[in-house]
Symmetry: C2
Subunit: 482 residues, 2 copies
């Protein structure tokens, strides 16, 4: 028999889907890493520096002690009844673990929970949102998820009926959006961020693209906004956010607000505002705007990517649609409980007066101020390179520099049948071990070339990265300069 499953007979939506953050360049890097292990000294560098993905702990960032203490206790609750435990854990982590345990039905830390997540934890998260925004949040609106990605998939699955359904997405965008739209068979309707104004989001551009899509017979269902921006790092101003909310209200679009970098703001003149807060501050309620806010434990100063915790706050949908969202959530039973617990902790960290407060604050501030410093250093280094310009990372974890590549390099890429930014990124990897993602994986204005580079390598690694990057770039330009 012929093989029953071939690439020609699988779901073409799967074939179409692309996910550059873990794409070809990462496979190359993993092969090189293996080569370094089996044959040390065989490459011009001795380690691979993964700047392709927002994965802080893989690059040496340490977890927040308080969060891990609580998780550790709740993984083995009999510890809570032992005196010896006080020698190993802080008093407030023990106290918090007790409180959480009491909020879990039957104190069963190993049971499936309610499909939206444990009610007591959702109460904690709603309280955290209320404190953040100054507008009340409701535990019934919270859906706990395994990281932010499953929530995005769930909403795409709900909204997309066919390729005639469009989702407005920023370009450049985080490829989760293009991938999930492709997998669910919809159409990505692009709107372009303006690189010249620090990746500005113009409502006139939204309107233009919306009208254009509609004129082609598309039904545009939702607008994705990533704030702080990924891969672009901009932080939206309050007035801009108000325009966006108004636009969604007027055009009947669901606002999908990716707010996973809400703790990652590095400039004094900008501040994160949730779209929920903005919407409520404009006097708009449930009837006015359908809004889904995504949050994750993977980002922020905590960077707990491996725990796969997160939530979406779902407001402005009718009860019967909400029921459908609940049904889809229930097909996977529930998200993982440690991730649920961690989501409640990041939304309710230690408070002044708690035993851990001082060490917690020191850990948090240390991470955030170091990230700000690294962002500045890398940004300056990139801007000093010939033909490279890089906007400020106001927030998130990335720089997205633009490369004006020489024609000869573009020609060489064409000969290899790859995009010029992939050509550059591959050369960089093979020369230095530094892994960045080509801008084409995020989409970009045609004819422009970028790469996304995280700001996550530890501070002591940054000087070497700058040196290697600069030397590589000079050599590259010398080779290909027109």
């Amino acid at each position: 028999m012929a093989p029953s499953v071939t690439v020609d007979t699988i779901n073409p939506k799967v074939l179409k889907c692309e996910y550059a953050v873990r794409g070809a360049i990462v496979t190359h890097a993993q092969n090189l890493q293996q080569q370094l292990q089996t044959n040390p000294g065989s490459l011009p560098f001795d380690e691979i520096l993964y700047c392709n993905i927002g994965n802080p702990q893989s690059l040496g960032q340490q977890p927040i002690t308080f969060f891990r203490e609580v998780l550790s206790l709740l993984d083995h609750p009999p510890l809570l009844d032992r005196d010896d435990t006080h020698a190993l854990y802080s008093a407030d982590s023990i106290d918090r673990a007790f409180k959480i345990l009491d909020s879990i039905p039957g104190r069963a830390t190993g049971a499936y929970s309610h499909s939206q997540g444990i009610k007591g934890l959702r109460d904690q998260i709603a309280a955290g949102i209320t404190a953040r925004d100054g507008f009340s949040a409701n535990a019934d609106d919270i859906f706990l998820t395994d990281g932010a990605s499953p929530g995005v998939h769930m909403m795409m699955q709900l909204l997309i009926r066919s390729e005639k359904d469009g989702i407005l997405c920023p370009i450049p965008q985080y490829p989760l959006y293009s991938a999930s739209i492709a997998l669910h068979g919809g159409t990505l309707v692009p709107y372009y961020l303006d690189e010249a104004t620090g990746w500005g989001l113009e409502v006139s551009e939204l309107k233009k693209q919306l009208d254009d899509a509609r004129s082609k017979g598309m039904t545009v269902r939702a607008l994705v906004v990533i704030n702080p921006g990924n891969p672009t790092g901009q932080v939206l101003a309050e007035d801009n956010q108000k325009e966006i909310v108004e636009f969604c209200k007027n055009e009947g679009l669901v606002l999908l607000a990716d707010e996973v970098y809400q703790q990652n703001v590095y400039v004094d003149d900008k501040k994160f505002n949730s779209f929920k807060k903005i919407t409520r501050s404009m006097g708009y309620g449930e009837e006015d705007v359908a809004l889904v806010s995504f949050q994750s434990v993977s980002k922020g100063y905590y960077g707990e990517c491996g725990k796969r915790g997160g939530y979406m706050e779902v407001t402005g949908f009718t009860p019967d649609v909400r029921e459908q969202i609940y049904k889809v959530a229930s097909v996977n039973l529930c998200s993982n409980i440690p991730g649920q617990i961690l989501a409640s902790l990041v939304m309710n960290p230690p408070k002044d007066g708690d035993e851990s407060f001082e060490s917690y604050t020191a850990e948090k501030d240390g991470i955030l101020s170091s990230l700000a410093k690294r962002a500045k250093t890398l940004e300056a280094a990139l801007n000093s390179l010939e033909g490279v310009s890089c906007n400020k990372a106001e927030g998130a974890m990335y720089l997205f520099p633009r490369f004006d590549l020489p024609n000869k390099a573009i020609e060489a890429a064409r000969e290899e049948k790859i995009a010029p930014d992939l050509f550059y990124a591959q050369r960089l990897l093979y020369a230095t071990g530094i892994v960045v993602v080509p801008g084409s994986g995020f989409r970009q204005v045609p004819g422009t070339w970028h790469v996304r580079c995280t700001i996550l390598p530890q501070e002591d690694k940054i000087p070497a990265i700058v040196t290697r990057l600069t030397a590589f770039h000079e050599k590259f330009m010398a080779e290909f300069r027109d």
Copy 2:
């Protein structure tokens, strides 16, 4: 503006999807539970007994100590360097945690892993499979997942292109299959298990249904087999499994083997055999049969539903199709690390000579022998009821008794516009607080009525359940007897 999202404008596949295990009956039960809290004594019972779902720890089953110790240590690795830790944890859990920590790149327990899961853990799982089957398994074939469900979704997403693509599923089936097929827009091709022969799986029935589907222009892509059966509890005989493998090979079908109950076998004359073992024992290799085996940490004697750990072992696909599976896995980055760790532990529990071996064995045997006892007691109780017949639970966690309901009861259900088995289950709930799932949620031979009832309530609860169930049933029959 009209609301932008209504049930009439969402994805019709979402509307079509049903998931009875968490359906209407559970919502009723949750409401009653709330009523018991706010108004104790207002109902004829004082607790809700959730027999609707395989969620052992929610009904009082305790976690396996060794597994939880290792997880607790790895949630807070600094413990491993503290002397005090030895007072609280067993020596082999500390040793195992060290080994696992060393196998995690950068010892980063909070980082995204490889999209298939941490390589060192996959090595452990492959070793566990090899020991189980006597045929070698390969870490590259393992995809770690958040429970078994995401793996099933991934395969449905890969295989289903349109409603012309069919998936052969047992009837009765676990509604994850009907739900995921509906969500991905395919068609469930039913094959009926034979209740009269203990839910026998006849290859002649498979062939008949396959031919029938093909004659209607369908492309049947895969065969789902659940062994031990859910909701039906049968354990397949080796010869029967060989016939099934032969059938898949001859017909070019992917064999999707749901083997999450592999540790749950309660009869001496049956034994779990993985389809991988059967396939290899027939001399078939990668070229002969495409086989995906699903395993979960939620079931077995461990019952760690809340951890959302599991894996699929993917064999018999071409490298380019494998690459597509990997791509889909990578869009969600990775499954949760504690779940990954737990999956490696259940496939490699303590061994003779380890400090925890004795207590581990006592915990494991205690749970499994108690489940066997509960299954027998409940089965006997059900069989003693008028008009009820119940096959043996040879394995898994469920009984699926058949109710020959009186015509008057069927008539009464029709008047309420609900299925007779839902009518019975609702009456049972409101009279006793016992939650079971109507057979219609799993599908059944038309005109027959069943419910699924777990064997999971703790032993001390069983006598009361039997008493309440028996009293309810007698009253029900007295009311509706023809």
